[in-house]
Symmetry: C2
Subunit: 453 residues, 2 copies
């Protein structure tokens, strides 16, 4: 398996350089989607043009659709605008809007000018929506018929355009009035049991469940949790049918959001980072987070600098300060993670301040006690001085309680201030707990300094 | 809104204590799913029995289905087994198996003995599958007909049992042979265009795409990325039809896995932690990770203890050690996150060692240089000693390169050893980078100690 995929990457290079379109197509689709993504990610940017022009446009579009958005953007940004335009014409509307909407304006504009004018208009409409809203997630490929048609006419139209509609993932057809406003929804299975000459309006579901194009991902997730629909019509403010939102698009967006949270908590700002992205983007996405952190770290270490006299007398404390700093960070981050998760599940709200405090306080006391005993014992063993054990243990124990309570609360506070908890909780937590930790250990030591020297 | 949900939690208490079943039902479903989950999470465990018995079983089941699995387990574990059994009968098969499969054996067994024997058998079958496999994720509510029926007979059966099948989320019907082996798949829309007296076997899709009950989540995600099916039949090793796997179940499982990764990286071991879970579970899930960490921290701090002579002469270094430790942790964790994400996307494999190393080395050098200049400058300003700036800056810069390279590689190494990168990468990283960081700063300082005092 390992060898095979290694060969795959080399084979891809070779086939591309030979400009052998038939072999390329056959070869690429013999790989699993994961191996395909992996092999493509190994290409240097100069070969993207060959990849996109040798494949038939619909296959090139299929390839981009299954890659991560960042990777697809990278490829479309590297090829000629005319190539990008031809391929983009074939990508399903919601994926295409995601990809093009995330590129810089100039690149997007150039690609749009090389697309089919109707498709380009469609992209412009979709990009105008905010990304994680019903408008931004919906597809514009759906079946709609103007009111007044019979069941037979609709079935006839379906049979006439069967091939075209095969891509449409059809579960419902929509009936609109002359202004484009949604009049009703037809289920495929309803067509099964109806005489062909009856007007569709007699069997369609009126007042059908629908979504608004401005509804947010939170609202959409809730909606699809509650209703078991496969796809739901999306209306604009004037009740016009503008698209269809599929359950899978909402679930994908929710999973992507979970991944963004993970990356942000880890300190990657500005979206997905992939290793085949340009170095400039990669280090700047990380450096912005690191710069913030080092400033906060220097501030926290200022507490040590202010209490150098104690440290000067009891140099052994220098061994325990990084331990206290790191362990409090660990304990606090666990509480941060639980709060971020519960905020996402809707199980806590910013107003639950006191409840979270009580819950975290209990955990903090138990774990603080356990860690204090452990570290205190190690410190006592090292120098044979029970006072050193007491100082180190008490500082860690008390600071664990502070870190756990603060860690549980800081995401709620940030959320209440409309800030992003995933991004800011970690740095805020470690700064506060570092300052408290250094302060506690040096203050406790200062109080019993004659027992420690 | 805030006030309303506060009222909701109080109202729920009041209605439950009044044992007013009609008001409870009306009240609960007037809330949004998120508010419902939130209000239920505010209840103490004594009130779960009232909640589960006052609601009609199908509504109680609907409520459990929309809660997080951990929360549903907590409720079923707190009520009488007979109550739990009656409610469990009504939960859809795949969700039910998830909930019951995660409880301790004794509780599950007692609930199963109070369930409808057929449903209980169904649970036992599903629980036997490993959780993130096709067998563990599939539903067992599907339409199957033995080979030999006509299209008309099938349509008749659908009309006769319309109400029962309404829950079935029907997009396909399945045709099996007399041994229960899958013979073909019927699309609803195919029934639309076929004369009623034709045998179904003439219109069904033979050799239909199917999955095996043992296929893993990775394989399933790939499969649904590639094929746009809504639901796919699942066969056992003897080709018997055992269930239907829906796209949404796979997407939900993938999202849950992303969340588990997030929690594990943050140091919560053993699954989801919710604040309404018992304190004992909550602190032990966190303490196991913390105990590991403190041992590693003490080992890392041993490097400082070994070089106390240098520290004793240049006490100012104590200020920089926590900064170097924390910053290297930050830089390294970013690389860890990118590798974990790329492993999940299939973009890197353990064999990509050298490639990841080269890529991370470049980022490490740039960010290391930036951070080194910053910290070096601060250190120089503080004491007016350029040598102190040089020592602090060089140690942080070099350690950043080490942390970034090691952070990028450690998930690949762990994955190659079949260990869980999400769980172990963080502690391994910080231990190694702490040791290197302390060693570097104290060694550099030792080399120029006469310039620093």
């Amino acid at each position: 398996m390992a060898e095979e995929t290694e060969l795959a990457a080399n084979d891809l290079l070779e086939v591309l350089d030979a400009k052998d379109a038939a072999r390329l197509d056959a070869f690429l689709w013999s790989l699993s989607p994961a191996d395909r993504a992996w092999a493509v990610s190994r290409l240097d940017r100069e070969r993207y043009e060959a990849l996109m022009t040798l494949l038939p446009p619909e296959d090139a579009a299929g390839l981009l659709e299954e890659l991560a958005d960042e990777q697809a953007r990278d490829i479309l940004g590297a090829v000629l605008p005319i190539t990008a335009g031809v391929v983009a014409d074939e990508i399903p509307s919601n994926v295409r809007a995601d990809i093009l909407g995330g590129m810089d304006f100039k690149s997007t504009d150039e690609i749009l000018r090389h697309m089919d004018p109707e498709e380009a208009e469609d992209v412009r409409d979709l990009i105008a929506y905010r990304p994680d809203t019903a408008g931004g997630l919906m597809i514009t490929e759906y079946l709609a018929y103007t009111d007044g048609k019979t069941v037979g006419e609709i079935i006839q139209d379906m049979q006439d355009h069967g091939e075209e509609y095969a891509d449409y993932d059809v579960q419902y057809a929509y009936i609109t009035d002359s202004e484009g406003r949604l009049a009703g929804v037809l289920r495929m299975r309803d067509l099964l049991f109806t005489a062909k000459k009856r007007p569709a309006s007699e069997v369609m579901i009126r007042n059908a469940v629908h979504l608004r194009d401005s509804q947010t991902l939170d609202q959409l997730t809730q909606f699809f949790d509650e209703y078991r629909f496969y796809g739901v019509p999306v209306l604009d403010a004037a009740d016009r049918l503008v698209g269809v939102l599929r359950r899978s698009a909402v679930e994908e967006a929710a999973a992507e959001r979970a991944n963004r949270i993970f990356l942000k908590v880890s300190g990657i700002i500005g979206g997905e980072e992939l290793r085949n992205m340009p170095l400039r983007i990669r280090f700047s996405r990380r450096l912005s987070f690191l710069s913030l952190n080092i400033v906060l770290n220097v501030i926290a270490a200022g507490v040590i600098a202010m209490k150098m006299d104690v440290l000067d007398q009891v140099i052994a404390l220098a061994v325990f300060m990084p331990i206290i700093s790191d362990m409090s960070g660990c304990s606090g981050n666990q509480a941060v993670a639980v709060s971020i998760r519960e905020l996402a599940l809707g199980l806590v709200k910013p107003r639950d301040f006191m409840r979270v405090f009580r819950k975290e306080f209990a955990v903090g006391v138990i774990n603080g006690l356990a860690l204090a005993l452990l570290l205190g014992f190690v410190a006592f063993l090292w120098k044979g001085n029970p006072w050193l054990g007491l100082v180190a243990g008490a500082a860690l124990g008390l600071n664990t309680v502070i870190a756990v309570c603060f860690g549980g609360l800081v995401p709620l506070i940030l959320k209440g201030l409309k800030l992003d908890p995933a991004l800011v909780s970690g740095p805020m937590l470690t700064t506060v707990t570092d300052m408290c930790g250094f302060f506690l250990v040096l203050t406790f030591a200062g109080a019993v300094v004659e027992k420690l020297v």
